[in-house]
């Protein structure tokens, strides 16, 4: 789970970098999309990425189930567990994950299915930039998009350092540093991904 998580974190950073092209100009964004549709390495990485998501999701379901069985059921506990955790998000990673997957499906249907998928199945892709502008001009869609990345912010702010901890790449010195870096990384992802819809909505670009 930690390895697939780290892999997905790298993907997020790459995706974010490509998104920024849309902030500059139509031409730049279209050429980036063109590159993503034709580059051989990208074509190879698409199924690998999908596998990364699937492994991450299946593994989390397995772990969640195992942990559910480790909880006591014979006793009707009255007081909810008040033990302090490192952050509420650490206790709700699975719930956050479900929210993220929900929006991910929406995102894939709205963007990917009309763009890159069309190249794979030999269909006619829509103009990526027009599609982007049209969707983000809708304030409700923008709001949903930002809620999505807010959920991702919390998921990443725990997942980032937690992944390093789980593969043993941490110690008493690095633990607080990684926790700090996690917050930074999560904030960059959140602000970065929110920038495009906000710019389009406010008319700064498009």
């Amino acid at each position: 789970m930690s390895l697939s998580g780290l892999f997905l974190l790298i993907f997020l950073a790459l995706h974010l970098a490509l998104n920024f092209a849309a902030l500059f100009s139509r031409e730049l964004y279209e050429s980036v999309c063109e590159f993503m549709d034709t580059n051989l390495l990208v074509q190879i990485m698409v199924p690998v990425l999908a596998a990364g998501f699937i492994i991450h999701i299946l593994f989390s379901m397995f772990v969640e189930f195992k942990n559910w069985t480790a909880r006591p059921r014979a006793i009707a506990y009255r007081v909810p567990n008040k033990s302090k955790a490192l952050g509420w998000e650490s206790k709700y990673m699975f719930v956050l994950g479900v929210i993220i997957v929900g929006f991910l499906v929406l995102h894939l249907v709205n963007f990917w299915a009309k763009m890159q998928l069309q190249h794979f199945i030999g269909g006619e892709p829509e103009n990526a930039y027009d599609l982007l502008i049209a969707l983000f001009k809708n304030p409700y869609y923008c709001a949903a998009y930002i809620v999505w990345f807010a959920a991702l912010y919390f998921h990443v702010s725990h997942g980032f350092w937690s992944a390093f901890q789980s593969i043993g790449v941490s110690n008493s010195k690095w633990l607080p540093r990684l926790q700090f870096l996690a917050k930074i990384y999560a904030a960059v992802i959140f602000l970065g991904f929110s920038a495009v819809p906000l710019c389009v909505l406010s008319g700064l670009c498009g």
């Binding site: 195992k66 006591p72 007081v79 033990s83 302090k84 206790k91 725990h158 937690s162 789980s166 593969i167």
Partner: protein, 246 residues
């Protein structure tokens, strides 16, 4: 001080349990929580009722046998103490206090508030030791860097109480196992068996039905000895390296 106690009562491992409410009065704020339960038990015996069963031994935070989930927290509302070190002054006069057994499927209730923590012994038997042959060498012959000795000692502070498991939403025993693995892995005497130990103890922990660690840190927050989750990173490292070597 006076309190209303809601206590989990369960005749034996198989019986269905329930909460019972007791009222107690005239308690000095300096009474320890367990002494307060002793007083309550004396009252119950006087009334011809069955006293409440709870684990206790040293009553000075060393043995690790006392447990109890008090108002939703293992070892009650204070940090870095065991239940036996908790005092009534931590509560307000007239408080309603809920006392429940440790929370974990791997620690089943034996009676009332007593849970079976044999699972920890089984994990220790799987690898929490050093095998020696021949005579013990002179201790001063083995030089250990101060930092390593300190870290090993911090991990050795674990008293095996199980609060980490009880606090964890996943019922994971990672902090306990990490403390034991880390304490020995940091010392030269423990190195020869380090790989085998990490694998055996983790395998035993999984087999006994403890959950998987998702790094919520609740264990560290509730550990009476302040064992750090940094030790969990070392356990993961020892375990993965051992697996890769296989």
């Amino acid at each position: 001080m006076k309190f209303t106690l809601k206590v989990w009562r369960q005749k034996n491992a198989k019986a269905k349990g329930r909460f019972e409410t007791y009222r107690i009065d005239g308690i000095s704020p300096d009474t320890s929580f367990l002494e307060m339960l002793d007083i309550l038990n004396n009252n119950l015996i006087r009334e011809g009722k069955e006293p409440i069963a709870f684990d206790h031994d040293c009553r000075e935070g060393i043995c690790g046998i006392c447990s109890l989930y008090i108002n939703g927290r293992p070892h009650g509302p204070d940090d870095e103490i065991t239940t036996c070190q908790l005092h009534c002054r931590k509560f307000k006069d007239g408080d309603v206090i809920t006392v429940e057994p440790w929370r974990s499927a791997a620690f089943p209730v034996v009676k009332d508030l007593v849970v079976d923590r044999n699972a920890f012994d089984k994990i220790l038997q799987a690898g929490g030791f050093i095998s020696t042959t021949g005579i013990a060498p002179d201790a001063n012959l083995i030089q250990i860097p101060k930092a390593d000795a300190e870290e090993a000692m911090d991990a050795s502070a674990c008293i095996g109480c199980g609060a980490c498991v009880a606090a964890c939403k996943n019922g994971s025993a990672m902090l306990f196992v990490a403390a034991r693995v880390s304490a020995l892995a940091k010392l030269p005497q423990g190195r020869p068996e380090a790989a085998r130990r990490a694998k055996a103890m983790v395998a035993k922990m999984d087999e006994l039905g403890f959950g998987a660690c998702s790094n919520t840190g609740a264990c560290e927050a509730e550990c009476p000895k302040g064992v750090s989750i940094a030790h969990i990173a070392r356990l993961n490292r020892e375990f993965l390296l051992a697996k890769i070597q296989d």
